[in-house]
Every structure is written in C-alpha cells, then in structure tokens.
Symmetry: C2
Subunit: 304 residues, 2 copies
Amino acid sequence: MKIVIALGGNALLQKNEKQKYETLISNIKKTSNYLSRIIKENQVVITHGNGPEIGYLALQNEIAKNKIPPMPLDILGAESQGLIGYPLEEQLINSLRDHKKNVATILTQVLVSKDDPAFKNPTKFIGPFYTKSQAQKLKNKYKIKKDSNRGYRRVVSSPKPIEIIEKKTIKKLIKDTIVIAAGGGGIPVVKTNSRLKGIEAVIDKDLASACLASSIKASYLIMLTSVPYAYLNYGTKKQKPIKEISLEKIKELQFQGHFPPGSMGPKIQAAINFLEDKGKKVIITSSENLQKALEGKKGTIILR
Amino acid sequence: MKIVIALGGNALLQKNEKQKYETLISNIKKTSNYLSRIIKENQVVITHGNGPEIGYLALQNEIAKNKIPPMPLDILGAESQGLIGYPLEEQLINSLRDHKKNVATILTQVLVSKDDPAFKNPTKFIGPFYTKSQAQKLKNKYKIKKDSNRGYRRVVSSPKPIEIIEKKTIKKLIKDTIVIAAGGGGIPVVKTNSRLKGIEAVIDKDLASACLASSIKASYLIMLTSVPYAYLNYGTKKQKPIKEISLEKIKELQFQGHFPPGSMGPKIQAAINFLEDKGKKVIITSSENLQKALEGKKGTIILR
C-alpha cells in the first residue's frame, strides 16, 4: 500500500531541545525504529518538518553575516533537506539492511503562487527570539512580530503548496524505494514565464505532505506528532481525544474552531485536502503509537 | 549515451569570488547554458564540487558556535548538496522546460574505509584563507596548513571513494531524468557491522565521479574545470596543452609527475580509474569549451 508519513514534533527535535548533532541522531534513531515495520511492508514516502533547523541555519547566517553573505530562505530550506534527510536516510538504510529495499532522499521544490495572500501577511515564526531593542534594529531587514509573551521573532510567509515539482521522480522510485521528500514542506518556488524561481517562504509540511500524497495517489496519509490524538477542546478541562471519525464530521469540528492554527489546524486541513482528493485514510498520532494506530487501536483515524 | 559530468572550478564559484547568493546563481546559470545541449541529447548525471561552500558552512558554524552547537563535516556535506543541488536543479529544469526530461537531485553517501591512510594524513584544503596569525589561533581546533603562496587553510582527510550508496536509485532514474548526485564528492560514510555511519572527511569529487561513472556503466566521464586543457609542465615556460592521448600515455606522464596533487592530479587519477574500469572516454576542459570538446576540437581527450 502507498503511504505518506509526515514526521513532525518530537520525531526530530523535542520542544526546548537544542539542535545538537547527538540529539538529532538519537531522535532520528528512535523514529526509524518506530518506522521499521511499516517501511518493510509498504511503499512509503517520508516527509519531515524543519521548523527548528531552518531557524538555526538562519541564525548562523545572521551571526556570521559580516564574514559571509547570508543565503535566502529557499537556499536554507534546501540545506535543511540535507541536514535532516541524510541522517534519516542513513538510519532507515541501517534498519532495512536485511531487506531488498533502497532508500533515497530527493531534494524537493514545491510550487506556490506569487499571488498567495500569505506573501502580504507573513504568519510563520522562525528562528530565535529577540528583545524589543534587537527587534527594532532588525526591522529594516526582516518582518518581525511579537510571538505571544516570549519575545519578538522573525515571521515569514507560509503560502499554500500547489504542486510537487519532483513528483514524477518520487512516483517512479516508490515501488522498491523508501523515498524521503518534501523536507520542511519543500523548497518554495514560483513560476514566471514557465521558469522556476525560488522565493523566501516556508511551506507548512503537513499541507505539502497532503499535496504529495494526492499527487502520487497514496491511500494513507499518516502525520506523526508529539501527541497520540487530535483532541476536542484541547488544553481545557473538557479535552477529549478524537478516535475514529468521518471526513464530514471533522469538517464540522474544524468549522467550530477546535483546531488552532499554530498546532493541530494545519494537520486537520491537510487531512481534509487529502481525503477530498481521493485519499482513503488519515492517521494522526505519535511515533510510539504508530503500529497500534495501524491496527485501529490508537490515534485519530479520519476516513473518507 | 550515458555521461557523467563533474562540475568544478569556475562552474560554481570563481577563485577569489566570495560566496554570495547572486554570484552562485549567476555562475550556475552560465554553466546550465553550457550544459543545455548535452543534457537534452544524452543520459547525464551531474556531480559538483563543494570546496568553497563546505568551507563557508564550517566557518558559519564556527562563528555561531556559542549559540548553536556546530555540526560535523558529514552533515555540512549534506547541507552543501542542498545549497548547490537545488539552484542547479532549478536552472536545469528551466533550460529543459520544453523537453520531456525530469531533473532530480539525489542526496548521495559515498562509502570510504575507516582504515584509509588519509585519516592519518589530512591533505584536502577547505574554506577561507587565513593569515599566519589567524592560522596560529585556530591551530588547536583544526589542522591548518599553508596552501601554496595564497595563505593558510584548514585541511581535512580525503579518503578514497569505494562505493556510491545510492547507485541503484541513480541507475533507475537516468533513463529519462537528469540526475544531480555525489555533490561535493558525496557524504563520507563508513560501515561497521553492516551499518552505515557518517565520518568527518571530504571526498575528492573527481574520484567520486569516476566511481559513480563506473558503477552506472557510463561511457564518458567529463570533468569541467577552469582551464581548457590539462597541461604538460603546467605553469612553466614549457607548458603545453595535452590534446588527444591514450590511457597508457597519460599513465606515463602521471608517473613523470606532470600533474600536481592539488590541481590536475585527482582529475588524471579519476580518468585512469574510470578508463581502467571499462570507461570509454574522458574529457577534461572548461565549461565554455564543452561543446567543442565533444566534437573533438578542444580539451584534453583521454581514450582507453
């Protein structure tokens, strides 16, 4: 069966964990172990986020800017696909070493529209926190906004993914190869006179994963995150896990405002996009619960 | 025909050019134009160096190290495959836009031996030039050596490439896809108990390209550099371009010491490796002269 698995949350870097080589590798090892059965038994494309990583790359570029001209966000997105894709691929190869399957990481560009309203209203926070006076100094260079009560941060546009540029390559490989693709939501590119050009933005990795899952005609889209379920009334006393649910019902709950933009919102939107575009099943759960979720015993399962 | 083209020298960054986004893109555009005909008419894998780029990434990591723990060289190698592979892929897609060919960039690991003597004797220069006093300060952290008369630079181990880990994927794609692979000579990995593990080193991109060319059974290996020919008595009054030459004859010249380790040496060794392993033809020339070299009118052409 064709499955797209989107790794997020604690699959790569826990909240408050610093990006360190050892931490990255040990998290990736754990995640690879959880994936080891599903990738042996299915045709799988693995996608991943890059929120913390692209922030760190941008910060390195910022700190070193007097010696080395900083690179734009699309280039940093490509760098993050190497930074994460390579150790992930290495661990998957190791866990498949007695099997006849290959693993390949495909640099992935994702088409967005120049006219996406997101370019007028950047909302995606990346990188480190600044004090008010630091923020003031950076205002000519970046768009800076207050991120809740934690300080000021750079915000970038998060346009909608329209098309996975490398989809034919991914489709061709998937029969006998575990493919790592669309890392960090993909490298954002726009088209002008049928020519591609990178653009500074960060695409939501769950929306990009849904776009990829539709374009390779996957049956399942699985989004792994730090919690075992999507919840009703999340973070309140009335919090309640969502188990099996229909597409129609989840759209109703979305309309009622159960899924805030910063956390479960994009995952639910990705689920809806995929199921409305011929997908069969969406699972939202944590890595540890993946196997149980496949057996229908854990996780939020959304059915067309 | 199956061809591996290794981009080096001025294809990406001219000597003394600073790594800047605009420079990188404009150099890549020029190079893509020179490649546009050959990639339309043949099955081509493109490899590229990363000497300046991985040096800049290492320097950014170094400068920002109090805020962000630096990543090891294998991870930086993977980052450089994104940094260079993505804009190169984008330009090639643009130049192929009226053709039915795809372009894909494959993150590439290259197997080396833990026991390679290079690990005891680092020789590969990376990154920026330092003055004598700057070099003195960095001596506890890096291995630093004098790079001809141009200043001091960091040196790292450059072990021999043994196997391209993703060769099956590359072979599968090449029929209708221009593949970018083995960037920067590939990400160096060793095998312990049949498990892969990254190691800090930089593999020579020409030797890695020869290894790749052999393993996909390419007919031609083309190495693009900043000069139109390999030369006899290079840099002396008796300097003379090498035009068409046999494998036997080039081995003789290599033995006589015509090709210094830092410049033409690895290219000639790569040529010999490839031709001794069933390759048909090697071309060494500059990007501008590629088309003429294919017609036999320019460049150093080495035949089995």
